[in-house]
C-alpha cells in the first residue's frame, strides 16, 4: 500500500475526476444520499429513539402509526420503528461484512487465476463448482451443522452472525472471481505490463501495483452488488425462520413475522420491506454510478 502513497500527486486528480463523473450521475447521487442516510439512521437512531426494540407492552399491541409509535406496534406491543432500526443494524452489518469477505475471496481467486496460468484451470473449475451448488439448501445444511459449535464458542448472537456472514461470503464470491480473472487476463497482455515485467518486477509487486488498481472498477461494482445480495440472502434465511434467534430483529425477520398481520396492520410489512428494497436499490445505483465514474472511456464525455 506504500506504492499508492508514493504516487500521491497524480491519483488525487484522478480521484477528483472520478468524483466529478460520479456526481454527474443523478441516480447514483440520490442512491448514495439515501444509503448514507440509512446508515446514519441505524447507527445513531437507537441512541435518539430510546424505546428498546424488545420492550413488550401488551396493552399497546397492534397499534397503527401514532406519535408514540410512528411505525405502529406489533402483536406484543413492541415498537416497530425501534425494531426496524435495530434490524437495520444487523442487516446492514451482515451485508457489508459478507460483501467484504466475498470480495476478498473473489479478488484473490480471480487475480491468482488470471495471473498464474498454472492455477487458472483448477481455480476456475472450483469457481464453477461453487456456482453449481444450490445456495439455499447449502445454507440450511451449514447452519444446521455448525450452529451449535459456534453458539458455544461465541454466544448465540455473535455465533450466528459469524455463521451467516461466513456462509453468505463463501457462496457469493464466484461472480467477482470470474469478472476479475477476465480483466486480469486482458491486462496481462498490455504493453505497460510487458514493460514492467521486462525490468524484472516480481509478481507480487506486479499484482499490487499494476494489476489491482486497474481491476478496481469491476471490483467496486461487484462490491456494491454484493451488499445487495447479502442483505437479501440474510433476509431469506431469517424469513425461513433460521439464522438469528426469534427475538433478534432483522429486516427479513420483521417481514416474515408481519406477513400474517398484513391485512390488519399493512404498515408492519411496508416499512421493513421498503427498507430492504430501497437500500438494495440505492446500493445498485451507487454501483452503476461507480462503474461509469471509474471507466476512463466514459469519464470526461
Amino acid at each position: 500500500m506504500t506504492d499508492a502513497a508514493t504516487a500521491a500527486e497524480k491519483p488525487r486528480s484522478q480521484w477528483a475526476d472520478v468524483w466529478a463523473q460520479f456526481r454527474s450521475h443523478r441516480g447514483a447521487m440520490i442512491g448514495m444520499g439515501f444509503f448514507v442516510f440509512i446508515c446514519l439512521l441505524v447507527i445513531f437512531g437507537p441512541m435518539l429513539w430510546d424505546i428498546p426494540p424488545n420492550k413488550i407492552d401488551i396493552r399497546a399491541k397492534n397499534q397503527g402509526p401514532s406519535l408514540a409509535h410512528p411505525f405502529g406496534t406489533d402483536q406484543l406491543g413492541r415498537d416497530t420503528f425501534a425494531q426496524v432500526l435495530a434490524g437495520g443494524r444487523v442487516s446492514l452489518l451482515v451485508g457489508v461484512t459478507a460483501m467484504a469477505l466475498s470480495l476478498f475471496l473473489g479478488t484473490l481467486v480471480g487475480v491468482l487465476a488470471g495471473y498464474f496460468k498454472r492455477l487458472d484451470s483448477p481455480l476456475m473449475r472450483l469457481t464453477d463448482l461453487f456456482l453449481a451448488l444450490p445456495i439455499l439448501p447449502l445454507l440450511l445444511v451449514i447452519i444446521m451443522l455448525f450452529r451449535d459449535p459456534l453458539r458455544a464458542a461465541f454466544g448465540p448472537e455473535k455465533g450466528i452472525f459469524i455463521l451467516v456472514v461466513f456462509v453468505i461470503g463463501i457462496t457469493s464470491w464466484m461472480h467477482t472471481a470470474r469478472i476479475v480473472r477476465g480483466d486480469v487476463l486482458s491486462l496481462k497482455e498490455q504493453e505497460f505490463v510487458l514493460a514492467a515485467r521486462s525490468i524484472g518486477t516480481p509478481p507480487h509487486r506486479m499484482i499490487l501495483r499494476h494489476i489491482l488498481p486497474n481491476v478496481l472498477s469491476p471490483i467496486m461494482v461487484s462490491a456494491t452488488l454484493g451488499i445487495a445480495t447479502a442483505i437479501i440472502t440474510e433476509s431469506a434465511i431469517s424469513f425461513l425462520g433460521l439464522g438469528f434467534p426469534s427475538d433478534f430483529p432483522t429486516w427479513g425477520r420483521l417481514l416474515s413475522d408481519s406477513t400474517n398481520f398484513m391485512t390488519l396492520n399493512p404498515e408492519r410489512v411496508i416499512w421493513p420491506g421498503l427498507a430492504i428494497s430501497l437500500t438494495v436499490l440505492s446500493v445498485n445505483y451507487i454501483g452503476d454510478g461507480l462503474r461509469d465514474a471509474l471507466d476512463p472511456r466514459i469519464r470526461g464525455r
Binding site: 424488545n54 413488550i56 402483536q75 444446521m144 451449535d148 448465540p156 425462520g241 426469534s246 427475538d247 400474517n260
Partner: protein, 567 residues
Amino acid sequence: MKLKATLLGAAAALALAPMAAQAGRGDSGHLNILYWQAASILNPYLSGGNKDIDASALVLEPLARYDENGNMVPWLAESIPTVENGGVSEDLTSITWRLKEGLIWSDGTPVTSADVVFTANYCMDESGGCQQLAGFADISNVEALDERTIKITFDKPKPFPYSAFVGSTMPILQQAQFKDCVGTNAPNCTEQNFGPIGTGPFVVDEFKANDTISMSANPNYRDADKPSFASLTFKGGGDAASAARAVLETGEFDYAWNLQVDPTVLAEMAKGGKGEVISAFGTAVERLMVNMTNPDPALGEKRSTLEGGPHPFLTDPAVRRALSLAIDRALLAEVGYGAAGKPTCNVVPAPAIYVSTANDECLVQDIAKANQILDEAGWMPGPDGIRQKDGVRLSILYQTSTNAVRQDTQALVKDWWSQIGVETELKNIDAAVFFGGDQSSPDTFQKFYADIEMYTNLFDGTDPEAYMGSWKCSEIPSPENNWLGNNMPRYCNSEYDALVEKLAVTAALEERAAIVKQMNDMLMQDGAMIPLIHRGSVSARANSLQGVKLNVWDSQMWNVADWSRAE
C-alpha cells in the same frame, strides 16, 4: 361463549340431519380438506402424527371410538362390551368384542375376526416398530372365537380394557392385504401403507406422500346413503395461517385443521364470511418441559441423558417454582389463543373428574414472590443482573417449534424471566424437524438438547392411564432406545412409578381419579413440567359444509361419512 356457539351449531346440525339423510351417496360432489402438515403415510400403526391418523381415519375404522362428548360409541362392533352385558369377564382379565353383521371391506370381501386378530399381532410384533404398542399393553392373547367374535385376554386384571381397537389410532387392517407386511417388513410395504383397504366411507385413489391424497366414496360402505361426498382431496402443506385463510377468506377449501394462529388474525379472517371457526376443549395442554438432565454440549453423546448427570440448576425445586410463578398464563392465553385457550396449572386438564386443584397457585403471576423464592434459595443477582450461585448462572436455552404464536409466547416468557434475573436464549426449530423424530437430527424434541422446550401434548379418549405412564423412568428417551419414549423431562421417581402400577390395577373410577390427581400433583410439584395453556382444538369449516362435529377425543375425521354440502 365459543363452546356455546359450537353446541348451538351442533344442535342446528342435528335439526338439519333428517334433511341431510335424505340425500344419497355422492350427491354432495367434491370435498376439499386442508391439513397444513401433510400426511406422509396412511397407516396409524407406523406414525404418531395426528395428520396421518386423521387421514387414515377416512379409510380405516376401529371397533369403537369416542364421540364429540367423549362417550364411547360402537363403530365396527355391535356394542361396547361391559361387565354388565358379559362382554368383559368378572375378573376383568378378558374382553370379548363382536363385529357388526355383514361388514365388508371396500374390495368386497367380508370383514372377519381374523382381520382383528391379525391387526393385533401386526402391532405386537416387536420388530415392526409399531407406534401404538402402548395400546396393546398387558395383552397376552387375542383370539377369534368365531367369524365375528374376538376375545382379548390380559395377563392381569384390566379395569379399563378399552385401549386396543378403540379410537382412530388403532383401526382394523385387512389381513389379506397386510399379511406380508409383518415385522421388519412393515415400513417397506409402501403400496399397502399408502393405500390401505378399509371399511371407512372413502377409498384411496391416489396417494402422494407429503402432498395430496385423492379419495372417492367407498362403493361398499355399510350405509347405502353415505358418504354424501362422491370424492375428496386431502391436501397438505403451507402453514396454519394460510390454511385458515383458504377456508375463511378465499373459500378454496371446506375444512382446515389445527389453526394455531394469532386470535386477532383469525378473527379478522373470520370476517371474510366464507366459513366459521370451530373449537372445542379436549385434553391438550401447551407446556414447558423442564430438562432434569444436563444438556451441556461438552458432554457429547451423553448430553440430555441420565448418564450425563443432573441439570446444573433446574434440579433445584426453588428455581422451577420461581420460573412457573413468573409466568402470566392468562395473558399468554389472551395473546396467543383467545377463546381457544385457558390458563392451567395441570397436565391433566380434563375430564373434570381428573382435574386437580392443588396447583392453582400458578394461575396468578407473582413476580415478587418468585424473586423472593430465588433469594431464599441463595440465587443472588450477579454483576450482569443474572442470578447465580456457586458459579452457576441461571441461563436457559428455551426451544420450541416454529409458529408465530409459540414465538410470541417465547418472547413474553423471556421478558418475565428477565424480571426475576433469569437469562433466556430463544431457539425455534421447523416443526417438521422438531417433531420429525429423525435420529440423525440434533433438533428433535426427543433429544431435547436444551434446558426448556415447549409444545402441546394430549391423550386420546377419556382415560389418562396410558398418558400418565409417559413419565415413568423406563420411558426416558436415550440413545439405547433410539430416543423413543415420552418422558421428555427425564423425570424419574420410584414413587411415581409405583403409582403407575397401582393405577393399572385399580378399577373404581373415583379411586382412579384420586390416583391420577396424585400423579398430576406429583409431576407439577416436582416441576417436571410447567403447564401453560389448556388448548382447545381450533378448526375451520366452510359455511356450506354441514354435519361437522368437532371431536377432541378422537380423530376430527371421525364422522366424515355424515358430512354433506348444504344447498
